[in-house]
Amino acid sequence: MATVSLRQVRKSYDAQEVVHGVDLEVADQEFVVLVGPSGCGKSTLLRMIAGLEDISGGEIAIGERVVNEIDPKDRDVAMVFQDYALYPHLTVFQNIAFSLQYRGVGKAEIARRVAEAAAILDIESLLERKPRQLSGGQRQRVAMGRAIVREPKVFLFDEPLSNLDAKLRVQMRTEIKKLRERVRTTAIYVTHDQVEAMTLADRIVLMHNGRVEQIGTPEDVYDEPATLFVAGFVGASAMNLVAGRIETGAQGCGVNLGGESRLALPPGRYDAHVGMSVTVGLRPEHLHWAGDSAASMLAGAARVVEPLGSDTLVIFDVAGHELQARLPPRVVRRGGDPVRVAIAPESIHIFDPATERRL
């Protein structure tokens, strides 16, 4: 077990820099998820930690040891690949045992450790099969077995679930979580799926265009997204982002979305920004149905109503903006119905449109 430290890590291909100075400290036994859209540099970063890509600048340390020049096999990391990378001509047993054979582990010990890993992953009955005889989920387990049998300092996961169908993905996500309780090892997990990131991570590293946008616990990045990008990326349904202006009035500080639509802000917090044009972030699930008398609310007309059972997604127009709200079922029934929603002042996110950072 070990910490992993990234200090100003850079990667360039020829003249093009794709990872621009990433700093990250992963604590011992921590499960960190790198998440971002494709091409954000998260997989490249993981491959640099594994030693499959050269490090163009900066330093990567596993434990106390800087590993920049160290061969992948000597870094004591294990990696689970997106398409499993099982050796097709070897049996499951041989696949799992493969790495141990090159680490001077005795035959009896190999058999014991493979059996142990197989028991943890519930694949004991598959040991004599070839990978092509396995389903996607089973292959995924074998790939993980191959990693845990090593008892490495660090686990690296490169989008391990993205080749599975939706249902299996949810199931395996839970399995990984359970596995994590049994095998407590430092882990770095790459995904483009924010739900996977939120559910698995101790801490999330949000990446965009080769830069870190925000590092924090799942709650942190949801409650206080540091940038517009994070605000748009995290959350089951995308945050509404609309232009507005901060103004002060009889009821205190508020944000005007144009026309009569005005939302109250937490008192005192944005006093320094009065008069400023901002981007306002409102999560659909934080908008709630407002009574007639509410002073701080948005009124408009529904355009599309999508009942989801537990709640209803309402798309409506307010002052020329199109917004989404998750409302209780049957409050709004069809397009054209009036919509009146309010939001708690502390749930409003205000961003500076110029820097795209949170105010």
Binding site: A50, G51, L52, D71, P72, K73, V77, A78, M79, F81, D83, Y84, A85, L86, Y87, P88, H89, F98, S99, Y102, R103, P131, R132, R139, R146, R150
Partner: protein, 304 residues
Amino acid sequence: MSGHGGWWGRRRNRQLALIVCFLLPSLIVFFLYRLLPLGWNVILSFQAWSPLKPAVWIGLEHYAEMWTYDDTFWIALKNTLIFIAASPLAIAAALGVALLVNSDLKGATVYRTIVFLSYPLMAVAVGIIWRWMYDERGGIINFALRSSGLIAKPIGFLQDFSWALPSVIVAEVWQMIGFYMIILLTGLQSIPQNLYEAARIDGAPAVARFFRITLPMLRPSLFLCVVVGILNSFSSFDLVYIMTNGGPGHATELLITHIYKSAFEQTKFDYAAALTVVQFALLLLLTVAANKGAGGNAGAVERD
């Protein structure tokens, strides 16, 4: 047709008829030009026959003659087997080339093309080119060997009894190496790159990665090369005919040139037919064995 329950009434049978219709044209050609001559050839091998006389059934007499009296047959058989045995060497060399042009080597595509270019050449052209190169007086090989001081006297590569067969084999290998290389290169490129990455992290050194990933994953391609190599060794008539015509003496005689000479130079068509049957049986045996060795799927790509 008897309505509902009749032969034509069954969907399966109608489909079968359709399938037969589609297969028929190629089956007819196959029958006329492959099976029929082969069958006739087998019958002929049991007969005494010449173009002007009626055929007489003589049973295994030709085979007995081959077995006991025909020294050329035994030489040709030995030479053919040596020819076949040389193809694994060619395949090994081609694997080396394929690994090189598959690496990050600068200009790999150029080398790949150059190496492959020998294959589409006509065997006759290859034979003539190599005959020039091997020439005792004006050949470039003798010139190079003498200029570098390796030999004092020129070697008559194609005239010398011990040099002739290896020299022809070299020309054959030269032509085939491009073909083997392309087959093996395709095989190499179908091996997922992340297997090597996984193996690197797993701690397998380069040699182990070659023997535990590359070779096993390449098995179908390798055996395809072996099968093609065997077929080719049996049929490389043109190259030998152009370069040495089986000589000097019978030093480069192959079964195929022996068959040709028996039939068309000595007009012993019946005897040549018997030789052909032997060659065919041998060929069948070796290809089946090679395909068995490939797990019955020579040329297939193994996937997970």
